[in-house]
Symmetry: C2
Subunit: 191 residues, 2 copies
C-alpha cells in the first residue's frame, strides 16, 4: 500500500520530488520542511529520521517491481509475451510514481543496513528473473544468439531511466509509451 495521504504521505511525496531534483544528500530536513511550509523539527512528529523517508520511498517501489516480476516469470506464455508484460508493468510502476523511481535509481546507495541488503536482494532477484526469461528465449530461438548480459543491461537501463523521457514528453499517452518502448526494445531499430 503506497503512502500518499496524510501528513506523512505529504512528507514522503515532497521528499521524493526534492530527492529527485537534488539528490538525497543535498536535501536538508529544513529544505524538506520548507517545501511543505513547516519547521524542520515538526517533521519528526510524523517520521523518525531522514533515513526512514528514503527507505519508505525506495522499498515500497522495489517491492512492487518484485511482485510484478514474480507473477510474470512463472506464467505459461511465450517469452515474447513475458517480456511484453514485464515492460508494461515496469512502465506502469514508473508512471504511478516517477519521482520515487528517480530517487530509487539515484539514491539507493544511501540506504543503510538492513534495508540496503533487502533492496539489493530484490534488485538482484529482478535481474535474475529477467535473465532467466531471456535465456529461455535464446534456447527456444525466440531471441537472437546475442550476449545475454548486454541484452539484459540494455533493456534495464532503458526501463530504469524512463522517467526522464516521461518528464520531457509529458504529453505522451501511457499506452503509446508502452507500445513504442516494447517495439524498440524487442524488435530493434534497423530495417
Amino acid at each position: 500500500m503506497a503512502q500518499t495521504d496524510g501528513r506523512k504521505g505529504e512528507i514522503i511525496q515532497m521528499a521524493s520530488k526534492l530527492f529527485r531534483e537534488r539528490g538525497y544528500s543535498a536535501v536538508s530536513m529544513r529544505d524538506l520542511a520548507a517545501g511543505i511550509g513547516v519547521k524542520a523539527a515538526s517533521l519528526y512528529n510524523h517520521i523518525s529520521s531522514k533515513q526512514e523517508i528514503l527507505s519508505s520511498i525506495i522499498i515500497s517501489i522495489a517491492e512492487r517491481f518484485t511482485e510484478g516480476m514474480n507473477a510474470i516469470v512463472s506464467k505459461k506464455v511465450s517469452v515474447k509475451n513475458k517480456l511484453e508484460e514485464m515492460i508494461d508493468h515496469h512502465i506502469q510502476v514508473m508512471i504511478d510514481n516517477p519521482d520515487g523511481i528517480a530517487c530509487l535509481n539515484n539514491d539507493w546507495v544511501h540506504l543503510k543496513e538492513p534495508e540496503l541488503t533487502y533492496f539489493l536482494d530484490m534488485r538482484n532477484g529482478y535481474e535474475e528473473n529477467l535473465r532467466k526469461i531471456l535465456k529461455e528465449g535464446i534456447k527456444s530461438k525466440e531471441i537472437k544468439q546475442v550476449n545475454v548480459e548486454v541484452m539484459l543491461f540494455s533493456m534495464l537501463s532503458t526501463l530504469r531511466t524512463l522517467h526522464l523521457l516521461h518528464e520531457k514528453k509529458k504529453g505522451i499517452k501511457t499506452d503509446n509509451l508502452k507500445n513504442e518502448v516494447k517495439q524498440i526494445l524487442l524488435t530493434g531499430i534497423m530495417n
Copy 2:
C-alpha cells in the same frame, strides 16, 4: 587534454572515484583529502574549490563527446555507419574514464553557472545531432518508422549507463563490448 598526472590530477582522479561511489554532495573535502593521504586544507594549494573539481571532471568529458559527435554527423557515410562510429566513440570515452562518466551522469545537476549552461548546451547539441542522424535514417528507410524520441532515448540511456556494465563485467574486452552493444542497439533482440 585530460588531467591525470601531478597532484592536481591525483585529486581529480580520487574525486571522480569518490563522487561515483557516494555522489558529489556526500563526499566532503576531508573525505577526498583522506583518500589521498593529506589534510583538507592542503587540497587548496592545487584547486580553488570543490566546485572546480566537479567542473574539471564533467566539462572535459562533455567536450570529448561533443568533438567526437561533431566529427561524425557531417561525414558522407551511411546512417548505419554513423551510428556505429558514434557508439564506438561513446564507449571509448567511457572506457578511458568510467569514474568520470558516472560522475557526469549523476552529478551534473550540481554544476553552477556558467558551467551548467555550457554543459547543458553540449548535452543538447549531442542529442540533437543524434536525432538528426536517426531522422536521416528514417527518411532513407535505413531505419524503421518508429518514434524518434523513444529510439533516441533508448540508445542514449544504454550508452550513458554503460559504465555500470563495464564495472560488473570487468573481464570483457573493449572490442567485444563495442560489437555487442552495436548489435543490440541497432538490430534488436527478437528473431
